[in-house]
């Protein structure tokens, strides 16, 4: 599975944005937010004129006086690559939940429905936010791939709610690992790094909630994918049984035991590992 971000044509990207706006039913006030956020990021990235922006998310409002970007070698292109990778995953999650909510009778009304609806809401906003930031970097947001959440017929998430939840768990746990793996690549830009971390912990909250909805614990024990998870999702959990942090086998400095240590630290996945998982669902 290969995604070539470079070959994306401008018209394709524009078409794609319109398609997305249509898909996500963006309202006029949503577009206003979109514009002001864009300005905000331009400001933060030092690409735009100085101005006051009331709509900057609080957490991003602090203008770095000592922005590491200026001192570091990561180019806007490097940063945009990382964000386009994240965008691909957010497209996947957003579409997965949107389709689930659009499928009559799939998600039980009440608790389950409101949980899935909130998760979808976040993923759709992550898509918007990432596209805005990528734009602000002077790069082109990657187009939304075509997804097949049956993975060629292996799964039936829209006919079987338990399978839908199992895939949701896999996607959320993957999201957590993916953002973690990219944090270092955003290190040169404190504002982007912080925003990515702020998405990362939201994915972790989602993961915990979906796991608990499935009757599991919110945290990952050893490298276990958990009960009733399809074997194909094992790649999401491989390596989570790591005991060594920063060169220290944590079981040698703490009495909590190996199981406890593996639960206490979530492990990253690199881009290729993530794309192999996501690639199962990209046509």
């Amino acid at each position: 599975m290969q995604i070539n971000y470079q070959n994306l044509k401008t018209e394709e990207a524009i078409m794609n944005i319109f398609k997305l706006l249509k898909n996500y039913d963006v309202k006029p006030e949503g577009i206003e937010n979109f514009i002001s956020r864009r300005d905000a990021f331009e400001k933060l990235l030092g690409l735009g004129k100085k101005a006051a922006f009331a709509a900057i998310p609080l957490s991003l409002a602090g203008v770095a006086t000592n922005n590491k970007a200026s001192a570091q070698s990561a180019t806007s292109e490097d940063l945009a690559d990382v964000l386009n990778f994240a965008l691909t995953l957010e497209y996947l999650e957003a579409e997965f939940y949107t389709m689930g909510l659009d499928t009559n009778g799939l998600i039980p009304a009440g608790k389950d429905h409101s949980i899935i609806e909130l998760i979808k809401f976040h993923e759709v906003h992550h898509v918007d936010l990432l596209k805005t930031v990528i734009d602000s970097l002077g790069a082109t947001p990657v187009s939304k791939p075509d997804f097949d959440f049956t993975a060629g017929g292996a799964f039936n998430p829209y006919g079987d709610y338990q399978q839908f939840l199992a895939l949701a768990q896999a996607f959320e746990d993957t999201g957590v690992r993916a953002y973690k793996g990219q944090a270092g690549n955003l290190f040169s830009n404190g504002d982007l790094l912080t925003a990515a971390l702020q998405i990362h912990s939201v994915e972790a909250r989602h993961a915990s909630e979906v796991r608990r909805l499935r009757g599991l614990k919110g945290w990952i024990l050893q490298d276990q994918r958990g009960e009733a998870m399809p074997a194909q999702t094992q790649a999401v959990y491989n390596g989570e049984d790591n005991l060594v942090q920063g060169g220290v086998d944590v079981t040698t400095v703490s009495l909590v035991g190996a199981d406890g240590v593996t639960e206490s630290f979530d492990e990253p996945l690199n881009k290729n590992e993530v794309l192999i998982i996501a690639g199962l669902f990209i046509v």
Partner: protein, 244 residues
């Protein structure tokens, strides 16, 4: 694990083997010397001198200085993990009235995780670790479910916001990654506590903590320490922490 991409004149965390006698006594030399993640040298002399607070009246534990650079940020994290660990140890020691099995398991798990974080950070800091802090949980009614779970919710959400805000303050990408491994577990905790405590099924990622862009909170250390200060008896000096 990749090498740090940055270098500083005064590398706060170095990955060389460390010959500190104190660490050997504390953890057993063989294991940690082999593991090699220890900070060598003593930046803050007061931390290896005898406790000056010994002669002081009770209730006035020694003030602590978190230090500067990556050491300061790790000590900041270590202080928060000490707080969380101490809290859950207390909760598990005297569970609230009528605690259901599911919630007892959560409390035991959270105790385990926070203790692991605490112990790891202490080991990573070696001689530069701040002392064990003293806590005041008198505002918590440990026999009362609402009181305990509300406090847990505050701590977990605060932990998430603290690590999210601290990421950019690190100099070492290795430490950033480790902080990332911890913060997502705090996020998992926060969601679980909220989902057992709050009636609103959307609370696990509620709009009180997640903004309209789908972003969690990120706090600067001053804000976090201010929120934590009612629970911490030691006066904490964070003046030397990196600002950006």
């Amino acid at each position: 694990m990749s090498k740090t991409s940055k270098s500083k004149v005064e590398a706060p965390l170095d990955f060389r083997l460390n010959g500190s006698r104190r660490s050997f006594i504390k953890y057993g030399g063989a294991t940690l010397a082999a593991s090699g993640l220890l900070i060598s040298g003593c930046e803050h002399l007061e931390q290896i001198l005898p406790d000056k607070g010994k002669g002081k009246p009770e209730g006035h534990p020694r003030p602590v200085n978190l230090g500067s650079g990556d050491t300061g940020i790790l000590n900041y994290a270590y202080a928060l993990e000490q707080l969380e660990a101490a809290f859950y140890i207390e909760v598990v020691n005297m569970p609230y009235n009528g605690i259901p099995e599911e919630e007892m398991v959560i409390m035991e798990d959270l105790r385990k995780h926070e203790v692991a974080h605490r112990d790891f950070l202490k080991a990573a800091l070696g001689d530069k670790a701040i002392i064990s802090l003293s806590f005041d949980f008198s505002s918590v009614d440990f026999s009362n479910r609402q009181s305990v779970l509300s406090t847990a919710k505050t701590f977990e959400d605060l932990g998430v916001a603290a690590y999210n805000g601290a990421g950019r303050l690190f100099e070492s990408t290795d430490l950033l990654l480790i902080a990332g491994k911890i913060v997502s577990v705090e996020g998992r905790h926060a969601a679980a506590i909220r989902s057992v405590l709050d009636e609103d099924s959307r609370s696990f990622a509620g709009s009180d903590v997640i903004d309209g862009d789908g972003l969690d909170r990120a706090f600067k250390p001053e804000k976090v320490l201010e929120a934590a200060s009612p629970f911490i008896l030691n006066k904490i000096n964070a003046n030397q922490l990196p600002k950006s």
